[in-house]
């Protein structure tokens, strides 16, 4: 069947080969990004004059009751365990080997736990928050932008995008802080912080899910309000350039309904480049998410990261950073690969 098809349309084979080459190049690019990111996370701490393990133990020594001699022994043992006494090149290869096996080290602060375990515990919270807010703000932003650039919209609709566009510059952390103060603290409408009420056990029951959802409203709202404007602005710009295109004029003169022109000619064409924007936005979305989680004390990656920063838990910091970088790069790859399926105008580049 496949062969018959290929005989009838010889160009199909070409396309699939081109696709494979494209896929290979994108995957190679992903690997380079991951390699660069992990090399940076390896070298920066080693260029800096302070020894993270010693720093951490000095802190322990101040609070705990170790004698200096004991401390030296413990530090030596840990240095040996983490390989810090080996030459840097050897350390580098051990570290990269560890990353390939998914071994990001152990937490110094919550010792028996590995960094990987900490990440896996926190990840579901972060994914739920980020995915919901990204989808919602993408949809709302594109609707607002499309409607405000459409010349036939009533004038009050066209001004709708202005408040959102102003808000997009404001850091989501600040929006979150304002909402904590006015909505949660002054008006007491929604919970102040935390992922669920104190005294409730996390379980898969309706009451728990409702309670958790109530706690997600404000964090989600601060992320959405801060990012709707960006999508709206880009969509408005795109919409404006499309209005003058011949095919839109032609559709109008053909006598198509305004609704049809709006949805299938105007929005559809303007929306596609926005998907590419989505790939580029992952980095800033996750950064904003991390900070907002810290603000609201949600048990996601952001709070683990901020706790690790405050307690000099270096392996956790490096592990989480690397994990997020890989996540962002993989998401960009996925968008890159899905995009040509959505937009038939895009051909796989061949060079």
């Amino acid at each position: 069947m496949g062969d018959a098809l290929a005989d009838a349309h010889p160009h199909l084979i070409e396309v699939s080969e081109v696709k494979l080459a494209y896929l290979a190049r994108r995957v190679l690019f992903l690997l380079v990004v991951i390699w660069v990111a992990s090399t940076i996370t390896f070298f920066i701490p080693r260029i800096s004059p302070k020894n993270p393990i010693r720093e951490r133990f000095a802190e322990l020594a101040r609070t705990g009751g170790f004698s200096p001699q004991d401390m030296e022994k413990i530090v030596a043992a840990y240095n040996a365990k983490f390989g810090l006494d080996k030459p840097v090149v050897q350390q580098y290869f051990d570290y990269m080997g560890g990353i390939l096996r998914g071994d990001l080290g152990v937490s110094l602060n919550k010792f028996p736990k590995t960094v990987w375990e900490l990440i896996m515990e926190a990840l579901p919270w972060t994914i739920v928050l980020i995915v919901t807010t990204t989808i919602l703000s993408f949809i709302i932003g594109n609707i607002v932008g499309a409607v405000s650039a459409w010349p036939k919209s009533p004038s009050w609709v066209r001004t709708l995008s202005i408040p959102f566009i102003l808000l997009q510059g404001v850091h989501p952390y600040l929006l979150g802080l304002l909402m904590i103060f006015f909505i949660a603290f002054r008006l007491k409408l929604l919970p102040l912080s935390g992922a669920y009420s104190v005294g409730i056990q996390p379980e898969l029951s309706l009451s728990f899910l409702l309670d958790a959802a109530r706690h997600q409203i404000l964090p989600a709202l601060s992320l959405i309000l801060a990012s709707v404007g960006g999508w709206a602005l880009a969509m408005r710009g795109m919409g404006v350039t499309i209005q003058g295109e011949d095919y839109v004029n032609f559709a109008e003169h053909k006598g198509l309904k305004q609704n049809t022109i709006f949805s299938s000619y105007y929005v559809r064409n303007a929306l596609l480049p926005q998907v590419t924007g989505l790939a580029l936005a992952f980095g800033s979305i996750i950064t904003a998410g991390v900070l907002v989680e810290t603000l609201y004390g949600l048990p996601g990656l952001g709070s683990v990261l901020s706790a690790a920063i405050n307690s000099n838990d270096f392996m956790v910091i490096y592990g989480i950073v690397l994990f997020i970088v890989v996540g962002v790069a993989v998401m960009m790859l996925v968008v890159d690969l899905v995009y040509p399926l959505l937009d038939p105008r895009i051909r796989y580049e061949t060079k």
Binding site: I44, Q168, V170, H171, Y173, F185, I309, A329
Partner: protein, 308 residues
């Protein structure tokens, strides 16, 4: 050869001037009234600048903006117009100094990133070939890495007590030159092939002359737009670092004031004025820069104007 070609360019056509051209500042004012976002944005920046200058002149910020200078936890009053915090800082003095420091970080990091971007963008577009491939390759590989996370690693790896506003500016700058580089490169590439550059080449101008006399003046709107977004990005990033506790600990940087007020649970303790002023100031800064950015976009991409 070159002498014969340069001579007609010298005699510009004389304008008959049927009506008097209004003075330059009237034209600027008129343009700002038309381009409202640019006008409002610039107005806010001028207001904040005046606040800082007048404040620095009239208040002893070198002392009062730091802990143990005044009575602690005072609500706003005639003596302390913005109140005081838990550590004994006069918040008015702290805001004046913090705003200045935030501006220093933004301008230093933004200017350095834009300057490097312009240089690399020019080199990349003008020389092409392997140089271009290397520079764009590095930019493309670094772009998917969220700069904030690398900044967290750098800021977390240096001794927290030795962080100053200049190290903050440096940390932010290290990962913010890729955007300007790619923007300037794209513009130089499209401009390089246009007629006026060819004419300049034929008239015997050297490469440097073409860059400084022909290309740079035409790139100014794009460089200015890159600069505004780089300043915005730098303030945004330094704010993120300082609310995570990675800022210069001693300084009253605006993000730091918010960090410390949250550490002491200012809202729960009823010291609402403590985080309020830094929040309002930052919202003003961010909105002003966004408005200027949108306004600049209108100058650089005239097609956007049609929405008005």
């Amino acid at each position: 050869m070159s002498a014969t070609i340069t001579s007609p360019a010298a005699g510009a056509p004389a304008v008959p001037a049927p009506f008097q051209q209004p003075p330059r500042r009237v034209l600027v004012a008129r343009y700002l009234r038309r381009n409202k976002s640019l006008g409002v944005g610039i107005a806010i920046v001028i207001f904040l600048t005046l606040f800082t200058i007048i404040g620095s002149v009239t208040i002893d910020t070198a002392k009062k903006a730091y802990p143990l200078a005044v009575k602690t936890k005072q609500p706003p009053s005639a003596q302390f117009p913005l109140g005081t915090d838990w550590y004994g800082r006069d918040l008015l003095a702290a805001m004046v100094r913090g705003l200045w420091q935030t501006a220093v970080i933004g301008f230093l990091a933004g200017a350095a990133a834009t300057a490097l971007g312009v240089v690399l963008g020019f080199i990349s577009a003008y020389y092409g070939g392997a140089v271009d491939k290397t520079i764009t390759g590095i930019c493309q590989v670094l772009q998917p890495i969220p700069p904030f996370l690398i900044q967290v690693i750098i800021a977390g790896s240096i001794d927290k007590r030795s962080v100053t506003i200049y190290t903050m500016a440096l940390i932010v700058f290290l990962l913010s030159w890729m955007g300007p580089t790619l923007v300037i490169r794209a513009q130089v590439l499209s401009m390089k092939e246009r007629m006026f550059v060819n004419v300049a080449k034929l008239s015997g101008m050297t490469n440097l002359e073409i860059i400084f006399k022909e290309l740079l003046p035409n790139l100014l709107p794009f460089i200015a737009a890159s600069f505004v977004s780089a300043v915005f990005g730098a303030i945004f990033a330094s704010f993120g670092l300082s609310v995570l506790g990675l800022g210069p600990m001693r300084e009253p940087l605006i993000g730091n004031i918010i960090y410390y007020s949250l550490q002491q649970s200012a809202f729960f303790n009823g010291w609402w004025w403590w985080p309020l002023w830094p929040m309002l100031t930052l919202i003003l800064i961010f909105s002003a820069l966004t408005l200027i950015n949108i306004g600049m976009d209108e100058i650089a991409n005239p097609r956007v104007r049609r929405t008005e």
